[in-house]
């Protein structure tokens, strides 16, 4: 199992009701697998998962990325700074 830390921002943070979540996940879990797990365990976040942007260790990561050990995973909507 890999330990990972999830960080939620904006709508993801509000829907989850938490800023961070520590998880132990299978070593071969992908971002898509992580989304599926969150969707099943936290249905309230489903609406935000459709257009979620995901980062692994502060770099944008596609759904097929395998999550490394001790990863810092950011989950957030498309950005709206400026």
């Amino acid at each position: 199992m890999n330990h990972v830390k999830l960080l939620f921002f904006a709508t993801l943070r509000e829907r989850m009701g938490i800023k961070t979540l520590d998880l132990d996940v299978p070593a071969d879990l992908t971002i898509q697998g992580l989304k599926d797990r969150l969707s099943a365990e936290y249905p309230k976040v489903n609406a935000s998962l459709k257009s979620v942007v995901v980062s692994i260790n502060r770099e944008f990561a596609p759904d097929e990325s395998v999550i490394p050990q001790n990863a810092e995973i950011g989950m957030f909507p498309p950005v709206s700074g400026g």
Binding site: F9, A10, T11, V53, R58, P77, P78, V79, G81, G82
Partner: protein
């Protein structure tokens, strides 16, 4: 001066954006031009041309509340500066600053400034590119609070891996 010595400033701050200080810090003895973009909170919005759900609705804004994934945002600001330098090699100094927290109408929220020896070096385009890229890849979000309620402003750009 070697390009590696050109000043690059990038930060997320809760403090007021000090244009004069930032401009001084990216002005070299060889600098003759600066292009500065700054954005501020609108108190009255008409969302013409927007794809937001309330497109076309004119409405009042009480304040915007900004948040950022600060360490990643600062890394991505650095990346935007690197991209600017790769596209316009005449650029000398670059400052990219986003203010976060609760910001009220007329308050500057963001600043992109680029300096160069002359105005015809691409310095205007460089600043324009900087704000456009910030709005695509720098993880910052804002929630709009108005008399009618509040909603998160969401962008549309989905960054690609490695971007």
């Amino acid at each position: 001066m070697q390009p590696s010595n050109f000043p690059t400033i990038f930060s997320i701050t809760e403090d007021e954006i000090d244009l004069n200080d930032l401009l001084a810090r990216i002005t070299l003895t060889s600098t003759g031009a600066a292009a500065i973009f700054t954005g501020m909170v609108r108190g009255e919005t008409s969302r013409r041309g927007s794809t937001q759900a309330n497109a076309g609705d004119e409405h009042q804004t009480e304040y915007l509340e900004y948040e950022a994934y600060i360490p990643m945002a600062e890394e991505k600001m650095k990346q935007v500066a690197d991209e600017i330098r790769a596209k316009w090699d005449a650029i000398e100094g670059i400052a990219i600053v986003q203010r976060i927290g609760k910001l009220y109408p007329k308050t500057p929220t963001v600043l992109i400034a680029c300096t160069a020896a002359h105005r015809d070096t691409g310095v205007f385009e460089a600043a324009r590119y900087g704000i456009d890229r910030l709005k695509e890849i720098v993880p910052i979000w804002k929630k709009e609070v108005s008399p009618g309620g509040e909603f998160w402003v969401e962008g549309e750009y989905m960054p690609k891996a490695g971007e």
